[in-house]
Subunit: 321 residues, 2 copies
């Protein structure tokens, strides 16, 4: 059962203009307010890993989807599906992680739900969070606004979340633990907006990493995207683990990184604004949007050679979030 | 692991005024709008049963929580957690059920998410839906507004959802299938509001049935509640199954029934307004709110004897929704 199949199944059945926008969240008009609304379920394994747990992930993942809509995250719901026999200590740690992360992200958990399933019918804890934010821009960022000439800005080094999960899962002994990069991303987005940057599109680099995010946007906007391999930062230990396991860090999930599309004239100011914020202090100008080939993402190596970054059909790492 | 334990764990950790209101959803102020926001996960087994499926339940359950806040339901998110190996045909039926139910309830599914877990790490399909509605009343209905002298109105016959699930689960052969009562409840609530009834509190009679809902409200409002056994309707086949299985229909879950607390002077008009709407055509004046004993619900039999309807500590029927 592939995601593609599911999307072929769900999108036609549950058709709504917001779902068809294929954005990280929906923008809906309510009175004179533009709300962003998004949902995600979290099934990550293990539920605790270097630098975080399913609790932080469930908060940051959802507030980041709001931030990627250009919306300030405000309210969160949390739904727990618990497997019978889960130690209360674990549950308590997850609840505390949710609380800390919500405070960090400036959101309030206003409503919740708990269900318990029999042993063997779940897997410790599944979480769902849904979030509401407010969009203050007249024209929120969206894939359709990406146009030839836009600069592609990547907010920092890649691959830490996926590698942290994988190392925890496989019991790898690493020199110097690699921790998840999970973090809330509204602050850097707000910095771009405050700097008056015309933000065309934002996308966090979760499942499928940078390569998948760029492919989705190239397809949605019917543009080509070219990125410079030399601009992209992957830390030494992450690169080492990826090489050992045969993973391409461009496809590995992050939980505190995003890509921003801005007009070329704003690129430098955008990078400077992002670098003022700790979570995006490693922001780089990484590429540009081209007219063609539409829907294709190309990686240009330091030596000038080019290779296509395909959209992988399966998931490289299941249950990464 | 009891719900009580979970609530003792979660409420202090995730403290927010909205969570502490212990309502079916949260009311939040945004600009000049009062929004209702709610979430529920659905783990019902079996996922298809007489009269419906997990799909209808996930829509109606959440829109009804909004309606119980006095909010017109508008937008819905849907999160799927799928167990690998689930037949696509089943998934398609669930997706179609969601679509039909959303149309029936007048809401739009605007955002969604899908996760897949390995075989044996889930149980076919879990759903989460979160919903947003708008409250147009200045003072929305809430448990704290229930006061001595209020009339207790029950919107129809009890126990059909729980018995339908149980019969499907146990493979009971019943004469004349008992179908779930799952239905959207905004229409009858809107009828009360249109009639100018001062609605103090609304609560749908889901997990734990009428008895649990009344106990929760009696505790939250620190009042006594007395209901007349003779006023409460349980259909013949539901009563028969309950007797056979040793269940008390007052504790059995419904998915299309609610209780309304209104000032005594409005009681007759409220019942009349509800009876105009098909889903609440069986509405009855079933009891009244007393000053004391605070937190206690009493059932008065046709012969005048009284018995306390306790809050059961465990769940009578697990995975009913």
């Amino acid at each position: 059962m592939t995601l593609e199949l599911i999307e072929r199944l769900f999108l036609p059945v549950l058709a709504s203009p917001q779902l068809e926008a294929r954005h990280d969240g929906a923008i809906v008009q309510l009175g004179n307010l533009q709300l962003a609304f998004t949902t995600d379920s979290y099934v990550v394994r293990p539920i605790e890993f270097p630098g975080g747990s399913i609790g932080e992930l469930a908060v940051y993942g959802t507030v980041n989807d709001l931030a990627m809509c250009g919306a300030k995250p405000l309210f969160l719901s949390v739904g727990f599906i618990l497997e019978e026999g889960l130690p209360l200590e674990v549950l308590k740690r997850v609840a505390h992680a949710i609380q800390r992360a919500a405070r960090q992200a400036g959101v309030t958990v206003v409503t919740g739900d708990t269900k318990v399933v029999e042993r063997g019918k779940g897997d410790q804890v599944f979480l769902n969070t849904s979030g509401i934010g407010v969009v203050e821009l007249e024209t929120p960022p969206a894939p359709a606004r990406v146009s030839p000439g836009d600069a592609v800005i990547v907010s920092g080094d890649l691959g830490r979340h996926g590698v942290a999960i994988l190392a925890a899962r496989e019991g790898l002994e690493l020199e110097g633990a690699i921790e998840t990069d999970a973090a809330p991303l509204w602050e850097p987005v707000a910095a771009l907006l405050r700097a008056g940057i015309e933000v065309h599109c934002l996308r966090d680099l979760t499942r499928g990493g940078l390569a998948s995010a760029l492919n989705e946007i190239a397809r949605a906007a019917r543009v080509g995207i070219e990125v410079d391999e030399s601009a992209i930062v992957v830390s030494e230990p992450v690169a080492a683990v990826c090489e050992m396991l045969g993973l391409d860090p461009l496809y590995v999930a992050n939980e505190g990184r995003f890509v921003a599309f801005v007009p070329w004239r704003d690129a430098e100011r955008a990078v400077a604004a992002l670098r003022q914020v700790p979570v995006s202090s490693g922001a780089v100008l990484a590429g540009r949007v081209l007219e063609s080939p539409a829907g294709v993402v190309v990686l240009r190596s330091a030596y000038g050679s080019r290779r296509v970054l395909d959209l992988l059909s399966g998931e490289q790492l299941p249950r990464i979030c």
